[in-house]
Amino acid sequence: MPSYKPKRVAHRALARRITGLSSIVDEAIDSLETATRRERVLSDGEAEQRADLDRSTQRSTRSTDEPRCGRLLRPVHRP
């Protein structure tokens, strides 16, 4: 009776498949880094805008409702 010859498993094909997967994962990591930077920029921009908005809100509130300290302290000279 002849001895059974096992068929070789296609390791190279599997290795190529895993290498291809690694490249795709690397691309995903690149996209992730880009997205992270973009989100950070947007988030920084939003924070800056919010800060600007807060500052301008404070200024407008002060000018209408609260008298400025400097004006109160300045002596009034009348002719």
Partner: protein, 160 residues
């Protein structure tokens, strides 16, 4: 003239059967009987070895298919994450979690592929083994198998 079966009857491993064939001296008819018995012992063991090899081979190819499918599945999952990330349907934090999960799965896949490669090499070595040595290993590991060894009976020896 019949053989003196008292000297030769019993259970035979392949090594024993080969020794019997080499050392037996008798009439041409008796020698033919012994040669036929020894050949039968070899064939039985080769048949068992072939059965084991066939099963292991099928298991390896099944594992290969599973790993190949897993690689495809992970590739598609990665591409989907990238597409959703780039189209803004996924935040960077969510994508990071997904990519970390895929990275872990990929490492596991590589390890399993490496194990498969080693097991395949071991199977190729096993296929090249002498059935007599394989049988000796099996009997050492599982002594109870000795009960199933081919038996040389008086009836076999004295058949016409």
């Amino acid at each position: 003239m019949n053989l003196d079966v008292g000297d030769y009857s019993g259970q035979y491993t392949v090594h024993d059967a080969r020794r019997l064939k080499d050392e037996f001296r008798g009439s041409p008819r008796d020698e033919r009987v012994v040669v036929r018995f020894a050949s039968g012992v070899e064939q039985i063991t080769q048949g068992h070895l072939n059965g084991t090899l066939t099963d292991l081979d099928a298991q390896l190819h099944e594992r290969y298919e599973i790993l190949d499918d897993r690689a495809i599945e992970l590739k598609e999952a990665t591409q989907k994450v990238t597409r959703r990330l780039e189209s803004g349907r996924l935040t960077a934090a969510e994508a990071r979690k997904e990519i970390t999960r895929i990275g872990t799965a990929k490492r596991e896949l590589s390890e399993r592929a490496e194990q498969l490669r080693r097991d395949d090499a071991a199977l190729q070595e096993m296929a090249a083994i002498d059935p007599a040595d394989w049988e000796a290993d099996m009997l050492q590991k599982y002594p109870a198998l000795r009960r199933h060894l081919p038996t040389l009976t008086p009836g076999y020896l004295n058949q016409p």
